[in-house]
Amino acid sequence: MRANATLPVGTYGYQPVDLAFLNDRAAQFSDQVARRLSGDLSEDEFKPLRLMNGLYLQLHAYMLRVAIPYGVLSAAQLRRLARIARVYDRGYGHFTTRQNIQFNWIKLEEAPDILAELAEVGMHAIQTSGNCIRNITSDEFAGAAADELVDPRVHAEILRQWSTLHPEYSFLPRKFKFAISGNPHDRVAARFHDIGLIATPGADGAVGFEVFAGGGLGRTPAIGIRLREWLPEHELLAYMEAILRVYNAYGRRDNLYKARLKILVQALGREAFAEKVEAEFAAIPKERYRLGPDIVEAIRARFGKPYLDAPEDAPAELSKHRRRDHAFDLWVQTNSHPHRAAGYISVVMSLKPNGGIPGDASAVQMDAIADLAERFSSGEIRVTHLQNLVLGHVRQDELYTLWQALGPLGLATPNRGLITDIVCCPGLDYCSLANARSIPIAQRINERFANVELQQQIGPLRINISGCINACGHHHNADIGILGVDKKGEEFFQLTFGGRGEEDAAIGQIIGTALPESEAVNVISRVIDTYLARRVPNERFRDTYRRLGATFFKEAAYAAA
């Protein structure tokens, strides 16, 4: 039962005019593919056009990256993704750290048909690659979390629309990534994006944004600088135009590895960069780019609201089941998040089962999740930047039934935020850029720490793995980062420690040489043993690491390596 059956919950409900736009886009790509196949377009000309429709050429075939704006899907959309996995791919998809989904076995000739199928359900692959503004990521508990100040998804949608086929910023020096959160606890790594926005309420219900720019991971990790403490909502688009215009004009184009905004910020210095942005902003005709409350409200009105009306005894029901079933209690403890509404709860469905491939979901799982979302969570599903899925609005008295349904689907692993909740790029098993495989080492670590009690004992700890320096697995901002490198044809792994993605952002440090897979796993084991032996009660890994220092852990972990 839903409050408004015509609108999807938690995401923007496309109007006929928006759907027509997506159809035009699919038809445009169909023409471009035909021009490529007939020879009218060379590969050099075609490549940027296909990338701006999410189509890469990878190791085994073309790969299609479909946008999941701010990570929210309706049940109908997830079913469509399942259908695409079955009909056009090999029965599965891979959820990414940018809240998108990738299909690995796509045929160029069929890509336009897939885009047309996506358009039917208000989905697309627009700007999921290429040197343009990419998918806008957001908080996986947006609109549900008890600790949230502003639901950032309306503004994420505004930014999505504004950046779509932007005439000036479709051929930037390099890709450009936005993240937006409305929570003082930064779950989107805002400081590691080209632009990171934290929405905060001001006086009289107004909304403003803390603006960070020039952050990023990749080859040269950088923490974004704060440009504005509080940018008023009506100036949001004008200010974004100013940042993008400075970047488009001055960003380096002579060296692929020095073309991101972070390098421009470093080259100019934070003051000079901020001055340029403010000068551009001062010159911009504000009225033209004004984001009026009428526009915000019109877009907000296209978001369906969840049906929230739990019976009074819902929390008591949940407690009862938790007392009776230890496994369920453990899962609730690790995989749930408090909801703002009484009697509700958000839950994480782990895509990191023991022996699995982090972030992969089969078409069967996707269909089943769509059904469960309709039954238990107002038909809404979220994708997290840690490659899991979330049901945001579950009645506490129905959680036990949901959990029982998730188990047989392999979706009830109680490891959210624990050592086996590993973030991992596809690596050399799929990706043409990778230097090393990243999935097998994730699986080895998962096996090593498979014991649920041990994971609980270790507590919150993030391991991120990237198969190359491009850092799609975000290895820089994890407690333990793993970077795959190629040493004379052999796969080696460089470990970093002490990275953090949240409001106390930090880049992980290298404390030893790159190691072969099994030795790298052994070093991680010794680091964990050291932590367990030396922590004070309730101290998280990151705090122990900070307290005892890198040198201490290096001596303990690399001593025998």
Binding site: R36, E43, L57, Q58, L59, L108, L428, D429, A436, R437
Partner: protein
């Protein structure tokens, strides 16, 4: 010599008589001294929009068959090492990632 087929992205290997085969076992093997010239000749298939990104793959001298020396090329020839049910390996191709 390998490439990806333009229309479907499939990994292919240049076999005798200018045929692009899906199995590395069918690939024509060139001596090191002749590979550059062979690649230059094979560029015609890019111009004809048959394949993309033609390049030569070094074979492992320790093996008698067509086994590439790098992990990357073994994975391309066989399929993802973490999904033995997918790719050419699922159809009985004999190249396996280590």
């Amino acid at each position: 010599m390998t490439a990806n087929r333009l229309r479907d992205g499939q990994v292919v290997w240049l076999a005798p008589e200018g045929r692009w085969a899906e199995e590395i076992a069918a690939a024509e093997v060139f001596d090191n001294g002749l590979i550059d010239e062979a690649i230059a000749r094979a560029r015609i298939f890019e111009e004809q929009r048959v394949v993309l990104d033609v390049y030569g793959v070094e074979l492992d001298p320790a093996h008698s068959g067509t086994v590439p020396v790098t992990e990357r090329e073994r994975i391309r020839a066989a399929g993802p090492s973490v999904r033995p049910d997918l790719g050419r390996q699922a159809k009985g191709a004999t190249v396996h990632a280590s």
